[in-house]
Symmetry: C2
Amino acid sequence: MVRKTKEDTEHTHALLLDAAESVFTKKGVAASTLNDIAVEAGMTRGAIYWHFKDKGELVRAMCERATLPMEAMVNEVMAVAGDDPLGSVRRLTVHALTQIAESKRQHTVFDILFHKCEKTGELAEVFEREYESRNECQSQIEGLFKQAVKRGQLPVDTDTHLAMQALHSYLIGLMHEWLLAPEAYDLAKHAAPLVDVLLAGLRVAPPRKRLRPVAKAGTIARREKIGV
Amino acid sequence: MVRKTKEDTEHTHALLLDAAESVFTKKGVAASTLNDIAVEAGMTRGAIYWHFKDKGELVRAMCERATLPMEAMVNEVMAVAGDDPLGSVRRLTVHALTQIAESKRQHTVFDILFHKCEKTGELAEVFEREYESRNECQSQIEGLFKQAVKRGQLPVDTDTHLAMQALHSYLIGLMHEWLLAPEAYDLAKHAAPLVDVLLAGLRVAPPRKRLRPVAKAGTIARREKIGV
DNA sequence: TTATATACATACATGAACGTATGTATGCAA
DNA sequence: TTGCATACATACGTTCATGTATGTATATAA
């Protein structure tokens, strides 16, 4: 039995991506063989080489199947740009966390991206796209923060670039660490209060643009005592 | 020329670890060959197999050379347990960030750990140790938060476990993202104000132990609209 | 109904990394 | 000075993943 109908073909395509997610999760991307993935999908390497040029394209396809809906969500939230920029930031962040917590596919793929693959070598070009989407996300967040300053939701001397770094790092860190131990706490349940901690901090004690005049001097000694 | 003095041997050992850092940074751990590392160090694979059982032990040794002084620093800060637990948390976090920003070795090795290797497969056992030290760090932070609640530095109904997750995730996220683009901002310079953002947030809007009685109900609909 | 492109399976060749076995020259002890 | 353990280098065999070439049965168009 060979040569399926178009639906069968697309189904095979999806099965291969499913198998890739499964095998990558178990053994990591680099340690996973194309044969492993084919067998997991109940086929042979011939199927993979028919649908994908090589391992890189397989990884890229697997990533895009999970990240594209995520980016669409971001764009959707950005489209409704209302008069509450901080609220937009909150919705964006909470939604991203909720997505990872509740969608098995996002959970699996982001776990692979964070902990089961290396972003260099032959897959470097695959992750350049990730990097660009990261930059875009960052500049959108900073844009919202600048609006928030204009509308008085944040102090006037807020360093919006550092504030963006803080929020973005917090978001990535929450994903990164929760994926390491999802049983540690219910992320979907506590996403909002967790995000509110940092947003509250940004309101009452944001990084400021002009630091006080360098204090007095000194205070830079006493480091490197422990080592290297 | 073979058979060096003990000093020469230790020097060779260090050279191999240096070479490992360099090669892993360029090509990633999985894609790096023991031959690559040996050549980078100006030797052959024989030298590596003399000093290390296999690739796993080489990675472990490279990690420990960078993380042991880090852990020593943590223990040192914990030892002086004064009457300012939140201050201890602050010092701990700021010091960790400063260390990564200013020590080239910490910078390199943590970059490898975060972005240039996969924490599964044959190296899984190597990272179990990382995982345990992570847990220890987490419980220490939570302990400090519990003390902070007792001393009135945090609201009485603070969920210290979630607060710990927030701070730990924030710390990891800051490292993770700064290592991706160290030129984006001066981490050593802004470590303290960045940490203060989250600490301020924990004081004024921490995650609470008892949420208000479930609001009204509803509000959980409207998700999964976008994807998978 | 036939022909062709499709959707895989199978077979083969190549190279590369690994582990080990062995070679070897030297520092150090007796 | 001899002898041995050390600190590597070199050589060898094996495994294994990859890429490609080829086989093959079927859906679909003509």
